[in-house]
């Protein structure tokens, strides 16, 4: 129901009070329901067909990717889309959980509003409940950073938990090891840029591997050495076609063909001089961001220098970082330039493609993960999953606190919130109870998606936690019952869980506070 107020421009609508609230609840809950079925290890995937001409298809169960790709018109739904995007940027995982949680909070709030509880009262209750839940989460977390062996095991478990809901679940052992090895190489620097992911179709996911060096998906110039040991590398960003004159307004105006030839010759000389000065750096490998034309390429070949052209900007920066050299644009002072170095450069074959492999690089942190898989869709999804896992691991290395997974934190928090509710006078208590129910909806959804009896299992969990406050029971999806999370090795990063809790509450609060919805007339496009 919307009405024209007569004050706004044509085509604009304004919805007030109950209608506005209803519209935002409906929108937000719809979005939450959309991604709900992807939650948990048995969550299903979605096919997204792009609207562009290619009608490309993406298959994913990554909440952030799904929400990014759909077009929503409902403003409240946009808030949720936004929140999952931020979750992705900030911690990289839990993108579905946060949306589902916010959706559940709103669903509960809707019931309360219908019982004539003022939204502000609900918000006050949610806030207190959220603080309480956060405290519980903090006390429930544990930290093994001091014990390297144990910490690695924690990381492995976290990686496995993250991966188990994705396409990589079949090979999660393999990929968890990959991801943890890659992160451990970073030695806590958290610089994900040093981890390079290359996707190559063909083979199976299981053939994916971690390489300790750096792999560049480029070709070596014709007639140049294919293998260099103890390479000294110059990384450059300079035009190697013709050196254009940068002075504004310069142009060539000559009166005879002969003069043109002269100037062309001068240009070539210039290039030769440039190549010579590059070679004078005493290098045996030259990597340029821009194109290398035939003439310089030939000269490099003559000098026995390996020349790699057109390494894109990302590649160059990463290469410079990895090899420990600087990116060079002028070549007059060979003595002052810092060259990159590595033990061995060689051409390797992955599937049908040739790639250049730098091993024994200066920066020991760098590594490359080569993903293999049957189709581009699988590879894309695999990359997304791996990215999630890497992000979570990175966060865990930064903040080593770990909690159990499988709905364990939610059940625990719900219990504490309910206790708080029973002590709180006033209508706020209703909101707190609703908060607890919303928390329990997460494990219930995991069960539902796995085709289990959610009511039974969640009730069992609740009972287990009620009987023993240090219980480690959570949802065991494989056996379809409550299980000991420690024994099953289902761990999650504390940061991710905390962010889900805070962002979810914040989002629902924003939407609840709205009592008026004004849509401006859509801009005329023409």
């Amino acid at each position: 129901m919307s009405q024209q107020s007569g004050i706004l421009s044509q085509g604009a609508t304004e919805e007030r009070g109950e209608n506005a609230r209803m519209a935002s609840f409906v929108g937000a809950v719809a979005v939450a329901d959309l991604v709900k079925s992807t939650l948990g290890p048995k969550g299903m995937d979605k096919i997204l067909q792009s609207m562009s001409r290619g009608q490309e298809v993406t298959i994913t169960n990554d909440g952030a990717t799904i929400l990014k790709s759909i077009y929503v018109d409902n403003p409240a739904a946009k808030v949720l889309v936004d929140i999952s995007k931020v979750q992705d940027d900030e911690v990289g995982d839990g993108t579905t959980s946060v949306v589902v949680f916010a959706g559940e909070l709103l669903r509960e709030a809707e019931l309360l509003v219908n019982q004539k509880v003022h939204p502000m009262t609900i918000i006050a209750g949610y806030r207190e409940a959220c603080d309480c839940a956060r405290g519980v989460l903090e006390t429930g977390a544990f930290n093994h950073q001091s014990d390297a062996e144990q910490f690695r095991q924690d990381l492995l478990n976290i990686a496995k938990t993250t991966l188990s809901s994705k396409i990589l679940t079949v090979d999660k052992e393999h990929f968890a090891n990959l991801a943890v090895d890659a992160i451990m190489r970073l030695k806590g620097s958290g610089n994900l840029e040093a981890i390079h992911i290359i996707k190559k179709t063909g083979g199976t996911l299981h053939e994916s591997f971690l390489d300790e060096g750096f792999i560049l998906d480029k070709k070596i110039g014709v007639g140049q050495p294919k293998r260099i040991e103890n390479a000294r590398i110059l990384v450059a960003n300079t035009p190697m076609d013709t050196d254009k004159i940068k002075i504004y307004g310069a142009r060539v105006r000559v009166d005879s063909m002969a003069k043109v030839a002269e100037i062309e010759a001068a240009e070539k000389d210039k290039m030769r001089a440039k190549v010579r000065s590059i070679i004078d750096h005493g290098i045996n490998c030259f990597v340029n961001r821009q194109l290398i034309y035939n003439l310089p390429e030939e000269m490099f070949a003559d000098a026995g220098v390996m020349a790699i052209e057109h390494a894109d900007f990302d590649g160059i920066e990463r290469l410079a970082l990895v090899l420990g050299g600087e990116i060079v644009s002028t070549f007059d002072n060979p003595s002052e330039v810092k060259l990159g170095s590595c033990k061995l450069i060689e051409e390797i074959m992955i599937g049908e493609d040739r790639l250049i492999h730098f091993s024994g690089v200066a920066l020991g942190e760098a590594c490359t993960i080569v993903l293999r898989g049957a189709s581009t869709h699988i590879l894309d999804e695999a990359e997304r999953s791996l990215h999630d896992a890497l992000c979570v691991l990175k966060e865990t290395v930064a903040d080593a606190r770990v909690v159990y997974g499988g709905g364990w934190p939610e059940i625990r928090m719900a219990k504490a919130v309910e206790e708080l509710a029973s002590r709180t006078p006033g209508k706020k208590a209703l909101a707190m109870e609703a908060f607890a129910r919303a928390l329990r909806a997460l494990p219930a959804t995991i069960c539902d998606n796995a085709g289990l009896d959610s009511a039974e299992i969640v009730a069992n969990l609740k009972a287990a936690h009620g009987a023993d406050s240090s219980s480690r029971m959570g949802v065991d999806v494989v056996r379809g019952e409550a299980g000991d999370m420690k024994e099953l090795g289902i761990y999650e990063s504390f940061r991710v869980r905390q962010q889900v809790l805070l962002s979810g509450t914040e989002a629902s609060e924003i939407i609840l506070r709205v009592d008026d919805l004004i849509k401006c007339a859509p801009r005329q496009r023409g």
Partner: protein, 536 residues
């Protein structure tokens, strides 16, 4: 009367193409205007006070804004109606002048007009109503002067200021964290305030935001944050005690403004030009280095070659820094802005204690934090928030709080909030009205009624029985002669606003009364609305 008759009874048209224009006249026109103003005010009414609700606004491009800041709502809702636009302007001018109370002023104006309607129905002339309002407004502002209290603070004792800012923030989305946020705002204002001259230059406070993290991570940087990174990825990410050169000329060969061509017709010329070009770059970088600069901040871009040379000479640089930031940086570091390389010299350099490149989350966004500047006159509030909407709303809330703190630095007289000032004014106006004979008597009484619309709305939004709580407070004010009693919005159990620490600046309150009365007068004076009907 667009159609008149001459002495021979022939009709002639005064207003051309009248059939294409829509026209409302007389009392009808006034009523239509009041109607429109009321509609706008009604939209804002529910956003008033600490328990006010938010509005969700979707822009023509589909972006969503969620706010309860009156000025922002009105600006974003694209009001078409002319009278509606007046209301928008009203809240904007309150925003520009005071920076807070933008919702209150619109609600007040709406109430004044709404009550004027009843007087019109009594057959009173709109102008007489306006005059009555003017008189009442005068009484009310005088009353404000009577009930105002001075309010003491100093650089050491910022507690009172913090409390005021908390009042402002309590109605916003940051209500949960009003204490730390208020402290941030007050510290920011005091850092740039000139307490001698009682002046605050708000340009020196920058509010920067980055999506992500928690609201709790919001902090005050005693320096400047710019959304840029070092021009070369391999430049050092952290600098300590550096001399800063600020340039507004690009590291590129010069481009004369006049159109010109450099003709190359011989090989010698070609080579000479190349050499000249090369020397440009080395020369520029050398000049920077010679001046003793250790960090170059440039308003324009760099050529790849220049970039490399800078890196090579160990001269970290930042490019594409906006004009406002350049000025701020210059003020903070004490550097002179240098428009030409030739003019660069050691005495024009500034100094910064530390310059750091900070990254966020898993994305590659980076920002530069410049701290420890000798002339600590510029500060940045760096805001974090769960998503873009929250972030924008936090920024707006902080802006309001900063404005309040600034107003207190300028003039430290306050009145108590929660509707206490309005009720007290209403009582004063009522008393004064009884001494006035004539039509104005009614107008002034009406003004007093309209003033009570603010506490009414406050009570309503807080879920209290509006009329009962208002009348109760009014009675107590009369009996106890205590102008500090207001509506207890936060349900703390006391009506004394001194205990709740809810106050506003006298300046802001007066401005609200003046502006609302003026707009009211303006609208009441309109008796004919002519506008071309829409194009077919």
């Amino acid at each position: 009367m667009s159609l008149a008759f001459d002495e021979f009874g022939r009709p002639f048209i005064i207003l051309r193409e009248q059939e294409r224009k829509s026209r409302v006249k007389g009392i009808e026109a006034v009523k239509a205007s009041i109607m429109a103003a009321k509609t706008v005010a009604r939209t804002l009414r529910s956003s008033l006070g600490p328990k006010g609700m938010d509005k969700m606004l979707q822009s023509p491009d589909g972006d969503v804004t969620i706010t309860n800041d009156g000025a922002t709502i009105l600006e974003m809702m694209e009001v078409e109606n002319q009278i509606g636009k007046l209301m928008v302007e009203l809240s904007k001018s309150q925003d520009h002048e005071i920076g807070d109370g933008t919702t209150g002023v619109v609600v007040l104006a709406g109430a004044l007009l709404e009550h004027a309607e009843a007087l019109l129905d009594m057959g009173m002339h709109p102008l007489r109503i306006a005059e009555g309002y003017e008189m009442a407004c005068k009484v009310a502002t005088e009353n404000l002067d009577n009930i105002k209290t001075r309010f003491d603070f100093s650089k050491e004792n910022i507690e009172p200021l913090v409390k005021t800012c908390m009042t402002t923030l309590s109605s916003k989305v940051v209500g949960r964290l009003k204490r730390p946020m208020a402290e941030i705002c007050v510290k920011a204002v005091l850092a740039v305030a000139d307490l001698e001259r009682r002046d605050v230059n708000l340009d020196l406070i920058k509010v920067e935001g980055k999506v992500g993290g928690k609201m709790e991570d919001t902090r005050l940087v005693e320096g400047i944050v710019i959304d840029k990174e070092f021009s070369h990825p391999q430049m050092p990410k952290e600098l300590k005690d550096v001399k800063v050169a600020i340039l507004t000329c690009p590291f590129e060969p010069p481009k004369p403004k006049t159109k010109h061509k450099v003709d190359i017709d011989t090989v010698e010329k070609f080579e000479a030009l190349r050499d000249a070009e090369k020397s440009y770059f080395t020369d520029m970088v050398q000049r920077c280095k010679d001046s003793g600069a250790e960090l170059v901040i440039c308003q324009w871009g760099f050529d790849d070659e220049a970039n490399h040379l800078l890196m090579h000479k160990n001269l970290p640089a930042v490019r594409w820094v906006g004009g406002v930031e350049i000025e701020l940086l210059a003020m903070a570091t004490g550097a002179r802005i240098v428009p030409r390389f030739q003019e660069l010299s050691a005495d024009k350099l500034g100094h910064a204690g530390s310059v750091k490149e900070v990254g966020f989350g898993t994305t590659k966004d980076k920002m530069l934090v410049i701290e420890g500047c000798p002339h600590l006159k510029a500060v940045t509030i760096f805001v974090r928030g769960g998503n873009r909407m929250v972030l924008d709303e936090i920024k707006r809330s902080l802006h309001d709080a900063i404005c309040v703190a600034r107003n207190l630095v300028r003039d430290n007289a306050i009145v108590y909030g929660g509707g206490a000032a309005e009720i007290s004014c209403a009582l004063a106006v009522e008393e004064a009205a009884d001494k006035v004979t004539g039509v104005e008597h009614y107008a002034m009484r009406t003004f007093a009624d309209a003033l009570q619309a603010v506490p009414l709305a406050l009570a309503e939004n807080s879920g209290l029985p509006p009329i009962e709580s208002l009348t109760a407070v009014k009675k107590r004010q009369l009996e106890e002669k205590n102008p500090y009693l207001g509506i207890d919005c936060n349900d703390t159990g006391t009506n004394d606003m001194r205990e709740q620490n809810v106050f506003e600046t006298v300046m802001g309150k007066k401005q609200q009364l003046f502006l609302a009365t003026q707009v009211c007068k303006m609208i009441l004076k309109i008796d004919d609305v002519i506008k071309p009907s829409d194009y077919e």
